[in-house]
């Protein structure tokens, strides 16, 4: 069974998924960050594949992408770094990035490498639904990789149902119409959208991402979904003082409250 499905079967609430950009802050931090996140009690880790033109990302993740590329990160290097990661880490691991680096690496080779490494899911925000169905689904399925789709407050009910139907693992609920980034609190409008989605009764669990940055927004979002995804706030925390272990332990603790 795919580790993502197992996670959601065993844990129904307060799931914490953390995104980081591979190659940031240091090119060789990848493994340590994943290990420390798992040890600190994160439930799922999203490994960001850096891209030169991250069009759906706000300033913090843009900067981490730039730096990671300057540090020399690439998909090839990332797979080398992740070799045998499954000897040390058991929580589900998801790769997230833009389509072009994956396309250039070769979708077949990418999927095979993910499978070999023990990756459980893929998030490619700029991969269109119909192209996924025609060109990617079969390959991903063959290698037991779950493709995770995004939905936003503007996504129509019909489309949400279609996405839910085609999803396996979880649905990535973008919390507001925005690029990634840190926002203060959750608005009434967002709450209405969370309620609307909760009441739709999707077959897949949902994680709320974008703009979740602290215990307050975490706890608030957790009321409406199985859990949250945090990116920018975590990357910012990596800039702070101390060892990776200290920074990550402190961060996860603060989020869990």
């Amino acid at each position: 069974m795919n580790r993502i499905n197992k996670l959601f079967e065993n844990k129904k609430q307060e799931i914490l998924s953390v995104y980081f950009t591979a190659g940031y802050p240091g090119v060789n931090d990848t493994r340590e960050i994943i290990k420390q996140l798992a040890e600190s009690g994160a439930d799922l880790v999203e490994i960001g594949i850096p891209f030169s033109d991250p069009m759906a990302d706000g300033p913090v993740i843009q900067k981490s992408n730039d730096k990671a590329l300057k540090n020399g990160m690439s998909l090839r290097l990332l797979f080398e770094q992740l070799k045998d990661i499954r000897a040390e880490v058991n929580i589900p691991l998801v790769m997230m990035g833009y389509i072009n680096p994956v396309m250039q690496y070769g979708i077949g080779r990418f999927s095979e490498k993910c499978h070999e490494t023990g990756i459980d899911g893929i998030i490619l925000p700029d991969l269109p639904f119909d192209v996924y169905m025609q060109e990617y689904k079969q390959v991903f399925d063959r290698f037991n990789l779950h493709n995770i789709f995004l939905i936003s407050p503007q996504t129509s009910e019909r489309r949400i149902k279609m996405i839910d139907e085609a999803s396996n693992g979880f649905v990535y609920m973008v919390s507001s119409s925005s690029t990634t980034g840190i926002r203060g609190s959750i608005s009434k409008e967002q709450e209405d959208y969370f309620v609307r989605l909760r009441d739709m009764g999707l077959k897949n669990p949902k994680l709320i991402g974008f703009g979740i940055s602290n215990h307050k927004t975490y706890a608030h979002a957790c009321k409406y979904a199985q859990g949250v995804i945090i990116g920018s706030a975590f990357i910012k925390a990596l800039d702070g003082e101390g060892s990776l272990k200290e920074k990550i332990t402190r961060f996860v603790k603060a989020i869990r409250g």
Binding site: S74, D126, L127
Partner: protein, 395 residues
């Protein structure tokens, strides 16, 4: 051969809409509406009237006697430089502002490189009383100052972009991010035949007025609608798409697109996408793209801000692959030389972008009875600071 976009937004393997879900509703709305709006009589009436009385169309087709003598052939310039705001870009922005109005949008965003598209967008926003925000790379803000000032005078907010190389690609990323953050009231007027479907097709159709006019103008001049050559520069490819459009199915007309090779295709400082690129995805479409082996986009270089782009419209990738259009390139120096030449033969200061098309005249062996059209996509006022730096070297 069919060069039109197919139902799912592709030209062969190129095109599509590789966009995050946050952009989907806007792109879907546009995809479902654009052909209906374009075909609507009230839209067509308003568009035609504005193109004529406001933008000054038709733009002349001018036979340059001196260039014709120099190259011993017949050289015509399609004078897009004489359109309002000084470039072909206004053809697209007039069309798109009318579309935006019909979609009920009240806020307009745009990216710009040379500033011509930014000015053309700010202009139609002023005309229609809509709020306008233009994203422009910091480097371009510096090298195209006159256009920045024009946009400000027109009431647009110009936002300098500091990411990447601080040029057109980065301005486009930032405009896309703005649209993601403002999904309800905002329309994004893309300035070229790039971006997700339906933009490449929509902008092509709006620029097609160039070749539509060329047909009857050539007939008046030469007795035939069809020339032997049409030459146009390509950044994203909108002036080229517009000047080729009505001749795509006339195989006898040689269509030549000119990219900017900067300091030379092998110099590492170039924007010649067809030579240096391979298929990839940028700004929502699959197209020829300058990228490294890991799929990271390579920062292009050209002296001309409007051609300084690592991709190209997906239709052009298809026209390249099928061989319907010949892609060539001109360096900074070749473009500068051609620009100074035209000012002295004809008293026309061309845009640096258009000068790349003019530079091709030196590379092709024409026959005396050939009819050659160069699309003079814009005027060079905005480039005066650059030209002045080279005045002594090229005159």
């Amino acid at each position: 051969m069919n060069f039109n976009v197919d139902e799912s937004g592709f030209y062969g393997e190129f095109g599509g809409a590789f966009i995050p879900e946050m952009m989907y509703p806007n792109i879907k709305e546009l995809r479902e509406q654009y052909l209906k709006i374009l075909a609507d009589k009230s839209f067509q009436d308003e568009l035609r009237l504005l193109l004529k009385d406001y933008a000054g169309r038709p733009t002349p087709l001018y036979r340059s006697a001196r260039l014709s003598g120099l190259y011993n052939t017949n050289i015509f310039l399609k004078r897009e430089d004489l359109a309002h705001t000084g470039a072909h870009k206004i053809n697209n922005t007039i069309g798109q502002i009318l579309i935006a109005q019909r979609l009920g949008k009240t806020r307009i965003i745009a990216e710009t490189g040379a500033g011509q598209h930014g000015v053309a967008t700010a202009t139609v926003c002023a005309l229609k009383g809509l709020k306008c925000v233009v994203y422009m790379g910091k480097l371009d803000v510096e090298r195209q100052q006159p256009n920045v000032l024009r946009m400000k005078m027109l009431g647009a907010e110009v936002v300098p972009v500091y990411s990447g190389n601080m040029t057109l690609k980065d301005a486009t990323n930032e405009a896309i991010r703005d649209w993601i953050n403002n999904p309800v009231d905002t329309h994004y007027i893309i300035g070229s035949v790039v971006g997700p479907h339906p933009y490449p097709d929509m902008v092509t159709r709006l620029q097609a007025v160039i070749s539509e006019e060329m047909k009857w103008q050539l007939k008046e001049h030469t007795g035939k609608e069809e020339p032997d050559y049409i030459i146009a520069c390509v950044g994203g490819g909108s002036n080229a798409a517009g000047s080729f459009y009505h001749y795509l199915d006339k195989p006898k007309v040689k269509l030549i697109a000119v990219e900017a090779s900067g300091k030379g295709v092998d110099s590492g400082e170039s924007a010649a996408t067809m030579v240096l690129g391979r298929p990839g995805v940028l700004h929502g479409s699959r197209t020829m793209l300058m990228q490294d082996e890991d799929g990271q986009v390579i920062e292009p270089y050209s002296i001309s801000a409007g051609l300084d782009y690592p991709g190209i419209g997906p239709m052009h990738s298809f026209l390249f692959k099928t061989g319907r259009v010949i892609f060539d390139h001109a360096t900074d120096d070749e473009a500068l030389k051609a620009a100074f030449q035209l000012t002295r033969t004809d008293g026309i200061i061309p845009a640096l972008e258009s000068a790349h098309a003019l530079a091709l005249l030196n590379k092709i062996k024409f026959k005396p009875d050939d009819v050659v059209v160069v699309n003079l996509s814009g005027r060079g006022d905005k480039d005066l600071a650059t030209y002045m730096k080279y005045l002594d070297s090229f005159i």
